[in-house]
Structures are given as C-alpha cells and as structure tokens.
C-alpha cells in the first residue's frame, strides 16, 4: 500500500508497454491450444481410445482444467504487469517493482533529489512500438532508479522533467 501526505497528489503513473503483457498473454494462449492440437492429431490418425466413458466428455473435462490453469496464469501476468508501476506525485517518485506474486519492492525518491532524467529507446521493435527505458540519476550515494519497457519514454521524460521544475518552483 502506498501512502501519501495530505497535500500530495498523483501527477501521473507509468507502466510498462502493453506489448509486453500482450506477448506474455500470447504465450499463455498458445499453451491453451496445445490439447486441441493433440486432440486434432489423434482424431486424424487411425487410433481409437476406449476410456470407459464418453471420450468427448473426458476430453472436455481435461481441457477445462487445463484452461483454468492457463486462465489463472494469464491473471498472474496481468497482476504483475499492473502492479509494476512508477507513481509520480508533486513531491516524490515511488518506484514499485512487482516481481512475481510474492516479491514486491517499493523505493521512494524525493523529487528534489533528482539530478538527471534520461530516456533510452534501443532496438528495432522498441523503436517502432515506441517503448524504452527511463533512467533517473539521484544526488549523493543513493541508488539509481530506472524503469524499462515503458510506453513513450520521451514523453514520460518530459512530463517528469516538468514535474521537477514545478516542484523546484515551490
């Protein structure tokens, strides 16, 4: 749970590009279709199975549980995607790193500690899908902040820079 001061408000939030979650969900969808493929192959070859019951009912029962596992896996990916976020308020930057369902790391950086913001788009897919990395350099010995694979990093850098200027003007 992220808590904010009374006079603090969220300026914007940054998440990873939708292409990443779409890629992960596509892999889940391919896995979901594996039993259909096996069933189609077994139907095409001259083999008959006697399972002691309705074979189609047996297949649907097995496929339903397979789909349930894929369905839950899809929601695990979505939850990880949605909870991995940068929240920029008028006072600070909150970096929430969600790695799997049971690993969550939250770092907070005051905006006035930020020295430099860099955006980085590299690679063929990243250039055409417009996603990349934002790197924040902080003052002193504090750690560096970065978020990778975010949508439109140049625009995010500009918005973050504007938030810094507004914060310093106060």
């Amino acid at each position: 749970m992220i808590t904010f001061d009374k006079d603090e408000h969220i300026v914007f939030e940054v998440r990873k590009h939708w292409f990443l979650i779409a890629s992960e969900l596509s892999i889940v969808a391919i896995f979901a279709m594996v039993p259909l493929l096996v069933f189609a192959i077994l139907s095409a070859i001259p083999v008959e199975f006697d399972l002691g019951g309705n074979i189609f009912g047996g297949f649907v029962a097995f496929y339903a549980i397979w789909l349930l596992v894929c369905w839950v896996a899809g929601f695990i990916f979505w939850t990880n995607y949605f909870l991995d976020v940068w929240v920029i308020t008028n006072k600070k930057l909150v970096d929430v790193e969600q790695r799997g369902l049971f690993k969550r790391q939250i770092s907070v950086l005051e905006l006035d500690k930020i020295q430099d913001v860099t955006s980085d788009v590299s690679g063929f897919v990243a250039t055409f899908m417009d996603f990349g990395k934002i790197h924040v350099q902080t003052a002193g010995a504090q750690r560096e902040f970065y978020i990778s694979d975010i949508e439109n990093p140049n625009e995010v850098r500009q918005k973050l820079h504007s938030a810094l200027i507004r914060n310093r003007a106060l």
Partner: protein, 79 residues
C-alpha cells in the same frame, strides 16, 4: 487393402473418480488464487474500472470453466 478401415484400439479405462478429484483440485486451485488476487488487487491499490473488470472477468471465466468441467464429467459417466 483398406488401411483406413483398420483402427488400432487402445483400451485405457479411466475411473470417473479421477476426473472428480481433478475437479476438486481445480476448485481448491481457483479459490487459492482468488484469495491471492483479492489481496493483491485490494491491498496494493488497483482501483476503478480495471479492478471491477479484472475481478468480474476472473470470476465469470473460472466459474464457467469449473461448471463446464462438472458437466463434461457427468457426460463422461453417462455413456
């Protein structure tokens, strides 16, 4: 010789109890993850339409699959 007319028969009877046990395991699996997602979505601050949409989709999809499995096992038993 007609090759297609000859089908190899594999006799591999599966007791329907195995499917019912799989269904029970599926229900436990579903409720475990429903509880984990409920915690994460509420406590970690997913709000608004995203939460309502995800919650509804998860429950409707899962219950549909569990119900389908129960019907399919019944169909498997009735033959």
């Amino acid at each position: 010789m007609d090759i297609l007319a000859e089908k190899t028969l594999f006799n591999f009877p599966i007791p329907s109890e195995i499917f019912w046990i799989m269904l029970a395991a599926g229900i436990i699996f579903f409720f475990t993850f429903a509880w984990i997602f409920h915690h994460h979505w509420n406590y970690y601050g997913i709000e608004g339409n995203s939460k309502v949409f995800a919650k509804s989709l998860f429950w409707i999809g899962s219950i549909f699959l569990i119900f389908t499995m129960a019907l399919a096992i019944t169909a498997f038993e009735t033959l």
